[in-house]
């Protein structure tokens, strides 16, 4: 079986060492490189072509978000997992917009890293449970205070199904095949979902899905 090749990027050697230790205990994972800052990460990703880049958000010389954007634009097949101290949606949304597939809180890196790497390597998304919780709390509090109703309740069961599949990273064609629908129908459902939830773009849709615990 082919091992999943991982590039670790963090400006702190201690952290990198800890992460490497975690990864190398897994038989199907291997670390192919370590980077110290954003620029080095972009360069190594280009030359090493890893399957997964695990990267800290706050790094010198190009921060993690910019680096993620450059990597996913140049090599869409590389999956990026963001490591961050912040569970705020500003960060999550920026990471998603930069093309990251996973978002891990550093506190829970030790327990979730392996799951996250496996998930994104399979093309799925992964978010630390703590992130989903914070996002959901914010969302619920806001609904409560403004008195508005939860837009999720407006969705039909079919739309919820499609929302989940799209958020998991499936293309319209995959969704159509899975649900035995035409691509055109899936397209229509998708635009209805976006309109009902008042979302702009896939990153916001994924954020919404994470917030509601539809994906993790």
């Amino acid at each position: 079986m082919r091992k999943i090749r991982i590039l670790l990027a963090d400006d702190h050697k201690l952290i990198r060492g800890g992460l490497r230790l975690l990864v190398e205990q897994q038989p199907d994972l291997t670390v192919v490189g370590e980077a110290n800052d954003g620029r080095e990460t972009v360069a190594l990703a280009k030359s090493l072509k890893p399957d997964v880049v695990v990267m800290d958000i706050g790094m010198p010389n190009l921060n993690g978000i910019e680096a993620a954007l450059q990597i996913t634009q140049a090599n869409p097949e590389i999956s990026v997992v963001m490591l961050s101290m912040h569970s705020d949606e500003s960060y999550v949304l920026r990471a998603l917009k930069a093309g990251a597939k996973g978002y891990l809180l550093k506190d829970s890196a030790e327990s979730d890293l392996i799951k996250a790497v496996h998930a994104v390597a399979e093309g799925k998304s992964f978010f630390s449970p703590a992130v989903s919780k914070v996002l959901l709390d914010d969302y619920v509090r806001k609904l409560k205070r403004s008195g508005a109703e939860d837009a999720y309740d407006l969705l039909t069961p079919r739309e919820r199904e499609i929302l989940q599949l799209v958020a998991e990273g499936k293309s319209n064609k995959d969704v159509a095949n899975l649900l035995n629908l035409s691509v055109y129908t899936v397209e229509t459902h998708r635009s209805n979902i976006m309109e009902k939830l008042n979302l702009r773009g896939i990153p916001e849709l994924i954020l919404f899905a994470v917030r509601r615990g539809i994906i993790s």
Partner: protein, 468 residues
């Protein structure tokens, strides 16, 4: 802190000369006041003196001419009455020759009484010469009265016989004597008039010269005092200018100082925050990873060790959390990682999580690459205003609006809290906001009133580097 002592250190040496010069000016002012008082008194005195002198001179000169006229008149009356009497007595004596109706002898007595009355009419304020001449006249009159009585007693034939003789030898010489006396008095009076007029003229000249002297004295004193005043005013002006210069210089220094303080504070916070996050935070993060490894190495049956490890983990986790909170407060990495608007949104949610206040952020046209100073200023402004609204004003809702135009960025934070009076309550927080905004050349305004919520508004000019 060292820099802040320098303007204060300059203050004490300037205060001693200040005191001295104020003492000096007090003396000078008193001197000027007294001098002006004297000058004024001099002028008023001169004016009053001139007025009274002129009036007195006028009165005296009128008195002189009145006395002269009165004497003249009296002399005239005497001469006329003498002429009338003379005429009457002539007609009485020549009544037979002229074949006229004879005048009444009683009338003659009347006429002589008129002469006597005219003599008495002469003004009583006589000098000795006058008195002498008048006495002579009186004498003449008495003699005439006596001879008149004799003439009246004459019978007609005696009268016819002696009439011409009496007229030629008695009456005409008497008349001539009276007239000579009168001419003497008159010339005496004229001489006196001339003398008195001369005296008045002399007094007038004296008054004139006294006035000229007083006026020139006042003029000289006035010019001297004007010079002193001018010099004093110039000195005051120069002092005022110097003081103003010093004031504006120290204000500039103070502004520079507070700007440097804000800068230093921001730099310090950034350094501490980086240090905490990079060194302590990362070490703790690594520690957590290691502890996780450790717990895997210990068999799950060893409950005691596992418990110890879990405890270590939770202590480390809470340390990580506190350090993160502190670092975030000091310098939110969001500003560098995400840009201004997401950082503000983060801030808004952070406050919503911590307090009962819901914050909404609206942004319009805000560019991603604003200058660091502008970003930090807006961020701190919003942070301070929201903290005030949540903690002091117990607001339930707050709105942050940030709009960027071609040359400026406008931030407005409104809340529905219980408000305050911005003219009276100005804490360090507000002063800090104002200082930050002024440092960048912007304008800062707070609108609030008790019970009316509050609006904090700032406009920051954008430099070329900040424009999109």
């Amino acid at each position: 802190m060292r820099a802040s002592t320098s303007p204060n250190a300059a203050a004490p040496p300037t205060s001693a000369p200040d005191l001295q010069s104020s003492e000096h000016s007090k003396k000078l002012r008193r001197l000027l006041l007294i001098s002006f008082g004297w000058l004024l008194a001099l002028l008023i005195g001169a004016g009053v003196d001139a007025l009274f002198s002129v009036r007195r001179l006028d009165r005296d000169s009128q008195e002189v001419s009145r006395r002269f006229t009165a004497r003249n008149h009296a002399l005239g009356t005497i001469i006329v009455s003498v002429r009338i009497y003379d005429d009457q007595i002539e007609r009485f004596l020549l009544q037979d020759q002229l074949q006229e109706s004879a005048p009444d002898p009683a009338d003659l007595t009347n006429k002589i009484a008129a002469v006597r009355a005219a003599l008495l009419e002469f003004p009583p304020d006589r000098d000795p010469d006058e008195q002498l001449l008048l006495a002579a006249m009186q004498q003449q009159l008495q003699e005439q009265e006596t001879s008149c009585a004799i003439v009246q007693a004459w019978r007609a034939d005696l009268r016819q016989q002696r009439a011409y003789q009496f007229i030629g030898q008695q009456l005409i010489p008497w008349r001539t004597r009276i007239f000579a006396l009168s001419a003497q008095i008159s010339s005496l009076d004229e001489r006196k008039l001339a003398l008195e007029n001369l005296a008045v003229a002399t007094r007038f000249q004296m008054l004139e010269s006294r006035l000229v002297w007083l006026v020139s004295l006042s003029l000289i004193a006035g010019v001297l005092m004007s010079l002193v005043c001018g010099w004093y005013i110039l000195r005051l002006e120069r002092e005022g200018r110097l003081r103003y210069d010093a004031l504006s210089r120290s204000r500039l220094e103070l502004e520079g100082l507070s700007a440097r303080l804000v800068e230093a504070q921001e730099e310090e916070r950034r350094a501490i925050s980086r240090e905490l996050h990079d060194e302590v935070g990362q070490s703790l993060g690594a520690l957590l990873v290691e502890v996780g490894q450790l717990s895997k190495l210990v068999p799950p049956e060893d409950r005691v060790t596992q418990g110890q490890i879990d405890h270590i983990k939770s202590v480390a986790e809470s340390a990580v959390k506190s350090i993160r909170d502190i670092a975030l407060l000091l310098r939110p990495p969001m500003l560098d990682d995400l840009g201004l608007v997401p950082a503000l949104e983060w801030q808004a949610r952070e406050i919503s999580r911590r307090s009962d206040m819901e914050v909404e952020v609206h942004s319009q046209n805000v560019s991603e690459d604003l200058g660091d100073e502008t970003k930090v200023t807006v961020y701190r402004l919003v942070q301070e205003a929201l903290n005030n609204a949540a903690t002091h004003a117990s607001a339930k809702n707050a709105n942050v609006t940030i709009v960027q135009n071609s040359d400026k960025i406008t931030v407005e934070i409104t809340d529905d809290g219980h408000g305050f009076d911005p003219a009276r309550q100005r804490g360090m927080g507000i002063l800090g906001m104002e200082e930050r905004v002024r440092r960048l050349g912007g304008t800062f305004k707070i609108e609030s009133a008790p019970g009316k919520g509050a609006t904090v508004k700032a406009e920051l000019p954008l430099h070329k580097a900040d424009s999109p």
